[in-house]
Amino acid sequence: MALTAEIKREMYWTMLLARRLDERAWVLHRQGKIAFHISGIGHEAAQVGAAYALRRGEDWVTPYYRDLALMVALGYTPTEFILSLMGKAGEPNSGARQMPSHWSLRRANAVSHSAPVATQCVHAAGIGLAIKLRGDDRVVFTTLGEGSTSQGEWYEAVNWAAVHQLPVIFMVQNNQYAISVPSAKQMAVPSAADKACGLGLRGLSVDGSNVLEVYNVMSEAVERARSGGGPTLIEARVNRITPHSSDDDDRSYRSREEVEEGKRNDAILISRQVLEKEGVLNAKLVEEMETKAKEMVDAAVAAAEAAPYPDVSEAAYPVYVEEVRRG
């Protein structure tokens, strides 16, 4: 499907909103208002480019912790995000039970996951299997970092999807680091997409800072999956320009030059250039978006700060389905 100018602008807007929200999360952490943040800064084009190739709200998504922009594209609101950071009542993932950034959104078929990395990929294979069994034409999109492709479960998931020709798209967001460990210590191949060779599916590597390029590659993969052509492995090359999380200081293992280089290839910057070149974006439009994003982020923080915490009795529920909530 060719994208209209309006949709392209919306894609940029989604990236921008996610970026400004993410930046505010770092500020809230510095202010001591939240316990933890793990950032998707630098990954937004990969996530939004992919999201727009899906039937959002219908296709299934098993995401990983950097997927804020993906979630925003799926309809996760700024207030919902800040509520989750603050562990407030009304947080839609889990009622403040689940850790922030362990995304889920029932209304968007985005599935919650555990802390151990790559587990969501196996679930994606299972969802793909069920889709095939039920005979509908949905697809599953699952994401992870390149370091997490070292995990046995990741190979098992991809192998399954390839053997059973399941409608799964695996996206590896390769930011070159797993916390402090560079990708050369995770894999002996230059690209995570190379791993597809031995597993029998298509593997592609794409510039994950270019939202349109990601969209194109992803659209092809979605089309293949939907029409019974099986899974695809996509590596999106991205730049992590923040520390791993709010618990990390990356100065001990990364040169500032490298981080600066990453900023020069930043997703927001590169995608803006691409879209301006296409004539769908200009400085004035971006400025309007910036103003609107700031207003929305401010409003989300205000709403979340005003929201109550869940009652402590909530801790006891809902461990089992049969449990009727008392009170």
Binding site: G87, V181, P310, V319
Partner: protein, 325 residues
């Protein structure tokens, strides 16, 4: 004796053992350049080099499985799992291999392997980062399971673990790294499989270990203010379990409360109380009580999380119930 943190004590034990024995090496995620998730191996990479302080791919099954292979041929690996929650990804190797190889091989090969890992909640890291499943590992014959509650024990027990010919799960607690205590300098070894009395008292025995030692000691202080003298027994090793100090204390006080951070069902308290009933039934003056975590996955929100974790007030209340019951 120096007053140092738990982190420093563990670090010291590792460092000294690596200096003492060239066969000892460390492998795990982020242990090298970064210096470990809890900064225990900071400085090791520069001093001992990348061969002996190896950053591995994110693959817990391979970390433990490879450590087993390496241990079988005469090296002494100290495998670090970032948190005990990720140990489940290596469970097959821990319980089906490490715990059983020596036995299944008729004792012909030894497996001198240490798995250092970190458990416990209380840091708002959510249900799958915050578990205290120590009892799960203690279930398996063939494993030694150690969980120190003081810096001195951490140092001494880790040295013993590294020198052990058997596989040892060495479980640290995420919120104890800053805890300070007197730690003997130099070659200080605490034998695995010895419980100890951390505080003497005549009225009741509190049996505990790891983080809950801190909670129990606070409760004992508070109780002392009300004229109740609690004796606190620190298990230190969950397997092999040393019941001697527990039974000795119980035969004196005739009452007990067991405090553990994990869930009560099928837990450490269940084991200890069963053994007291089996081996000291004639001394029982009141039903034994257990204090443990609410039986839910630990929630993220701070108030909810704190509500679910065992607290000083609960220990105090349990003691009073047993005494007045």
């Amino acid at each position: 004796m120096a007053r140092i943190t738990m982190r420093e004590a563990i670090s010291q034990a590792l460092w000294e053992e690596m200096e003492r024995d060239p066969r000892v090496f460390i492998l795990g995620e982020e242990v090298g350049v970064w210096g470990g998730t809890y900064a225990v191996t900071k400085g090791f990479y520069d001093h001992f080099g990348p061969e002996r302080v190896r950053d591995t791919p994110i693959a817990e099954a391979a970390i433990v499985g490879a450590a087993i292979g390496a241990a079988l041929v005469g090296t002494r690996p100290v495998a670090e799992l970032m948190t005990i929650n990720f140990a489940f990804a290596a469970m097959d190797h821990i319980v089906n291999e490490a715990a059983k190889l020596h036995y299944m091989f008729g004792g012909q090969m030894v497996l001198p392997l240490v798995i250092r890992t970190v458990g416990g909640g209380g840091r708002q890291l959510g249900a799958t980062h915050s578990q205290t499943p120590d009892a799960v590992f203690a279930h398996f014959p063939g494993l030694k399971v150690v969980a120190p509650g003081t810096p001195a024990d951490a140092k001494g027990l880790l040295k013993a673990a590294i020198r052990s010919q058997d596989p040892v799960m060495f479980i640290e607690h995420a919120t104890l790294y800053q805890t300070r205590g007197e730690v003997p300098e130099g070659d200080y070894v605490v034998p695995i499989g010895k419980s100890t009395i951390q505080r003497t008292g005549k009225d009741i025995t509190i049996i505990t270990y790891s983080k809950m030692l801190e909670v129990s000691m606070k409760a004992a202080d508070q109780l002392a203010g009300e004229g109740i003298e609690a004796e606190v027994v620190d298990l230190r090793t969950l397997r092999p379990l040393d019941m001697e100090p527990v039974l000795e204390s119980f035969k004196k006080t005739n009452r007990a409360v067991i405090v553990e951070e994990g869930w009560k069902s099928y837990g450490v308290g269940a084991e200890i109380s069963a053994r007291i009933y089996e081996d000291a039934f004639d001394y029982v003056d009141a039903p034994i009580k257990r204090v443990a975590q609410l039986e839910v996955p630990l929630p993220y929100n701070r108030a909810l999380e704190q509500m679910a974790l065992p607290k000083v007030e609960q220990v105090v209340a349990a003691v009073k119930e047993v005494l007045n019951g």
